[in-house]
Amino acid sequence: MKARLKVCRGAPGEDRRYEHYEVPFEQGQTVLDALRWIRVHRDATLAIRFSCINANACKECMIRVDGKTVYACTTRLAEREMTLEPLPNKIHLRDLVTEIAPPDERLSSASGDE
């Protein structure tokens, strides 16, 4: 089976664009599996945020899939085109990564500068 992923790329100050990837998958695999596959087999510059990989414990991999906010690690791949975008209501850092740390757990608060 193959999933077709349309992935939002770019960072603030750069042109925002969509790149298309075809990703082989087996029943049960997730959007995060596909993003990790892309980084290993196609483009290691793709930025994604996650820690725990599969357990839905770290809660770091929240993105938009087809306009809905989901965890990439628990969203199953499907044999169709899926559009992946960063969270719209957070500061965009790059590709699918947004600033999701609370303000008092960021460098700006630790260093005293804003």
Binding site: C73, A101, L107, D113
Partner: protein
């Protein structure tokens, strides 16, 4: 700090802007060990900076710990730390650093009760804290938060407490790349702020490495992606010693198939405590002779499962079967609670099917060599939690990991604060490295290759031949793993992989070299070619860097 930061943000020769921070105590890593260390240091009067390469309290091993915590509370049956220590030493197969093990067992009740007072929510029976019996323990000793929520509850409790502690500043997304040294003394760390790629220099009177273990070295692993052995690599390059690096614990019944998402792969263990659960080979035979009880220690169970697979009696995906089919639906519902619904969402019905399990890299017994106050041989450099080696010998007793994180974290925090109180603030200039060139390898792919290699040749079953293959691969990878300069841009994930590959390579070499030298089988280190435990090998191996050369002694 404002003016200083502004000044330093000015571009230096076209390089990235830099930041300069200072703290009396710097804590690297925000799992249970790091968070508890930060709290303890603050309580002892120090100004603390807690940093993590991921988000605070979310990226380490603690948040993944769905299991139990060993502590001699005596709430279920009478118990003392001496009994806990006896079990810890027996599990360690003769290789525990007894002073560290003793500290772990003796200080555990105070830490667990403090967490209870902070509202972590240890499961209770008739008003007292529930304690279950895990393999290797002589009595019910392990506390937990139902249902498989121990780690998340612990992380949340510590993080909430930190938020109320003004003396601790916290920042995530900050990756420490080197410890900063001056005349052989640790004076803080150099770091990269990942979202901007900017360099950050952190001057500190005392520094605690609480970065966890090295499970990311393995293709099948139960911990977070940031457990790539960063702390070991940092400590090694700073001149500290590593100990017992060959002892990697594989958790015997990591989930294998069918695909399960949204669950920790080691989730089956708590249910084996409650319900037994039968481990079956392809012939549907209970090859461990447990008869439904859950009694086999991790090293023995791992070895038994891999032996079944090697002899052609494994399950279709290369593991063995775990069956709860002898339990009624009501029994399963009581034991599993809401987890039954999450399993159903994954298409798993335990009343009608077995699942496949296989060993999975879970924990590292080895680590940074420390004394009883968590001090390394490098002045003003301490370690805490899984990053520390020695307390668990050649095989860790179930439930001792969180205990170790808490006890050693608290100890390190208190000692670091005491050191800081009599130390002047060092000066540390930001180090503005030139951005790296685009690598000619895909570092993400190299990491995957390294993980497969480690799983195959430096996993739970080893041989001289396989270990030699691993060393060859590591040698060939060496050039790609020398110095990693600065990121080329904000959130440079390719650079981050290069950084990680370098540390993983260094730590993989430590594990492999130590494993190749230990010509015996003991605990988590099992050799095809040396199947016996040898009494003259009841000793530690230590690794350190002499110049650029890795030296193994022991």
């Amino acid at each position: 700090m404002n003016g200083e930061a502004e000044l330093l943000r000015g571009k230096i020769g076209g390089l990235k802007p830099t930041h300069q921070l200072s703290a009396e105590v710097l804590v690297i890593g925000s799992g249970a060990a790091g968070m508890y260390a930060a709290l303890a240091a603050a309580r002892a009067g120090a100004q603390v900076l807690l940093v993590d390469r991921s988000l605070i309290g979310r990226g380490g091993a603690t948040v993944m710990a769905q299991m139990t915590v060993a502590v001699a509370l005596g709430e279920e049956v009478p118990d003392t730390p001496a009994h806990h220590l006896a079990d810890t030493l027996a599990a360690g197969r003769g290789l525990c650093d007894e002073a560290l093990s003793r500290l772990l067992c003796e200080e555990a009740p105070a830490c667990i009760r403090e967490l209870d007072a902070w509202g972590v929510g240890w499961a209770r029976t008739n008003g007292h804290i529930s304690q279950v019996q895990a393999p290797g323990h002589d009595r019910p000793r392990c506390v937990y938060v139902d249902f498989v929520n121990t780690g998340p509850a612990l992380s949340k409790t510590l993080r909430t407490h930190l938020q109320r502690t003004a003396a601790v500043r916290r920042t995530g997304d900050l990756l420490v790349t080197e410890l900063a040294m001056s005349d052989g003394v640790c004076i803080g760390a150099h770091a990269v702020h990942l979202p901007t790629g900017e360099a950050v220099a952190i001057a500190a009177k005392a520094t605690i490495v609480a970065t966890g273990g090295l499970t990311r070295l393995y293709a099948r692993s139960s911990a977070s992606i940031n457990m790539g052995g960063d702390g070991y690599a940092l400590a090694l390059r700073a001149g500290a010693e590593l100990i017992d690096m060959e002892f990697v614990q594989f958790f015997p019944i990591g989930h294998l198939s069918p695909r399960l998402v949204g669950m920790d792969p080691i989730m089956w263990d708590p249910f084996r405590y409650k319900l037994g659960g039968r481990l079956l080979n392809a012939e549907r035979r209970e090859f461990l002779g447990e008869e439904g009880r859950y009694a086999t220690a991790r090293d023995h169970a791992t070895y038994a499962i891999l032996s079944e697979v090697a002899e052609g009696r494994g399950s279709p995906h290369g593991g063995v079967w775990l069956s709860f089919e002898h339990c009624s639906e009501a029994q399963l519902r009581t034991a599993f609670g809401p987890i039954i619904d999450r399993l159903a969402a994954n298409g798993i019905d335990l009343t009608r099917q077995s699942i496949e399990v296989a060993p999975i890299a879970h924990y590292h017994m080895g680590g940074i060599a420390v004394d009883e106050r968590m001090q390394t041989c490098v002045p003003h450099l301490l370690a805490a939690g899984e990053a520390v080696g020695g307390a668990n010998g050649a095989n860790r007793l179930s439930g001792n990991a969180i205990t170790e994180a808490l006890v050693f974290g608290r100890q390190a925090g208190e000692r670091a604060a005491a050191l800081a109180a009599r130390t002047a603030m060092p000066t540390l200039a930001p180090r503005a490295a030139a951005p790296s060139a685009k690598p000619d390898i895909n570092p993400a792919a190299e990491i995957v290759r390294l993980q497969r290699l480690m799983n195959e040749h430096v996993g739970p079953l080893r041989s001289a031949e396989g270990l030699a293959r691993a060393l060859e691969h590591l040698e060939a990878l060496r050039d790609a793993c020398t110095g990693v300069p600065a990121p080329r841009r904000a959130l440079d994930s390719e650079w981050l992989d290069r950084h990680d590959l370098r540390n993983m390579h260094a730590v993989a070499e430590c594990v492999t070299r130590a494993a190749a030298a230990r010509n015996e089988s003991r605990g988590a280190h099992q050799r095809h070619d040396f199947p016996q435990t040898a009494s003259d090998w009841q000793r530690h191996q230590r690794l350190r860097l002499a110049g650029r050369e890795l030296r193994l002694e022991g």
